[in-house]
Symmetry: C2
Subunit: 322 residues, 2 copies
């Protein structure tokens, strides 16, 4: 907690292509931890003494930017503050009026209609090209991304096996609709996945959505059907661990003609934004895809909310309400 | 040698959809070793007491099959015999008349115009979608497939780094046109690849054509540029070795958005056969792609030729002339 400070900043006048915004919702996300290191990655590091940035939903108070007017609700990347001046570098985006008119809560754009839901939708349907009838294996299936993958896959008539650690999380994955579960704390992942496939009468998996890497990824190689597609979203097993991954089954890449592909949400999102909003909006409106929210209140609660992510204090998406 | 027997078989009458063929050239290939095991793979196991099959070039003596006439030169899968009856199950294929008229030796269809050249061409240009200007890393670059990859890549204006074991093979890769070489017997592959990239002033590789797996594959992950494509053709390092592959750099799949794909020649060949024959035929005719041949004579020499593959007795493609 000593690493965070709350600062009052003076109100600046607006320049051209700037908005004055009052924030309503802030997102806190695991990827922000990586940005606190001074290491090269696909997002820039945070700067000491500067406000944290991140996804936020706010209301426009004053606009010097074409296309935005006071009262508009926007998604932007200038989070972790009550409000302030937002320029083009913070990627302001007006929330779709028809979604809001349809009754969708604005903070949905910070999870299922935003980063986490978009990552699930893009990885499953575009990167892995999953289709009805496919057998899908998803790791960290109780997480924000994983639980969206489970629900999208079920809504699209796939057979879903989800893995998570412990009976409680596994029970929740089943509630979300998974056809079988693998509790990786109960035994080797490969044994659990093989037993799940047996129980479903399926010979192998067509799709693997990877949030974990390591033993999960190796089990997916072992159980892949011919022409299986792996969408690699995260490898949380190895983020804090310098050990090599022990791959026994990587060689199945060749006889099974497996395609494995790493992806990042922002690379693909703008290409498919309209289709995503229409499709995911429909799945949410029908109740096929849901999201639990854990909400903290007030800007001063943001560090607590963030640190809670790493202590398992959240169920579903962690948010801060201002 | 005791595992092979030479048998005289009676001449059978021809049924409908059969050809009588006199063989001129037999191919012996490393993949045949896998078919001698009683294990499930992408090709069926050989049967004890039955003739070995495999790629061969023969001349039609008598035809009960539409589209074939005596005198036609054909490629078929009924190898390891002087001749005999060839049915549809042996995939008889008439060699393109214009290639033969252009002076191409018929046995070229057992290497650069066949399995090895086709594997190189499909893997590099279709699976990995390599294009002019790409930096390409190929392992086992002195092998029949690898040396074709080096030459096709150079003809298509790519920058090529080839790896092989020992100074002699590395010198030959350079003669074929590789811009830099990695001698994997001289030190860690990753050090060699990093030094090769430095010498070329390149930040990383766009394409990896894998014949080896293991340490080579891990080094490719370590040095991959964003959106690199890996075509996985073979993992000879692990065929005879139950040890897991130690992958330190697999996690780069995500930040570099790497796409890795295993492939098998026969899956894709018939989709692109015309384009392949035209393109590869042109590269061979112009001298851009060459192949050394090691030729044994007579059917009784076939087991020696085959066993020689595993003793490093061949340079380029190993063939038997009947």
């Amino acid at each position: 907690m000593d690493d965070f400070a709350l600062r009052e900043l003076p109100e600046a006048p607006l320049a051209r292509d700037q908005l004055r915004v009052r924030n309503h919702w802030l997102s806190v996300d695991p990827y922000m931890r990586g940005r606190m290191n001074d290491a090269k990655s696909y997002t820039a590091s945070f700067q000491l003494g500067q406000p944290m940035t991140g996804g936020a939903i706010g209301e426009v108070i004053e606009s010097h930017m074409d296309g935005f007017a006071p009262g508009d609700l926007i998604l932007h990347m200038g989070g972790w503050r009550d409000g302030g001046v937002i320029g083009l570098d913070m990627s302001p985006f007006k929330l779709p009026a028809d979604s809001l008119a349809g009754g969708m809560p604005p903070q949905t754009f910070l999870h299922n209609m935003g980063l986490t839901g978009g990552t699930a939708w893009i990885g499953l349907l575009r990167v892995a090209a999953a289709k009805a009838g496919d057998t899908v294996f998803v790791s960290a299936a109780a997480g924000a991304v994983g639980s969206a993958v489970v629900q999208i896959a079920k809504a699209r008539e796939m057979i879903v096996i989800g893995s998570a650690g412990g009976a409680e999380k596994c029970a929740w994955i089943s509630e979300l609709g998974a056809d079988a579960v693998v509790d990786y704390k109960a035994g080797p992942v490969l044994d659990g996945l093989a037993a799940a496939l047996d129980s479903l009468g399926k010979p192998g998996i067509d799709i693997y959505f990877d949030n974990v890497g390591g033993e999960h990824l190796d089990a997916a190689f072992a159980c892949a059907n011919d022409f299986a597609r792996f969408a690699i979203c995260g490898m949380i097993d190895v983020y804090n661990d310098g050990h090599p991954q022990q791959m026994h089954h990587l060689i199945r890449t060749i006889p099974a003609r497996i395609r494995m592909e790493g992806f990042i949400y922002t690379d693909q999102f703008f290409d498919c934004m309209e289709e995503f909003y229409a499709d995911m909006g429909g799945l949410i409106a029908s109740g096929a895809v849901t999201m639990r929210e854990t909400v903290h209140h007030g800007l001063e609660a943001a560090p607590d909310a963030f640190l809670g992510l790493f202590a398992g204090a959240n169920i579903g998406k962690m948010l801060v309400r201002l």
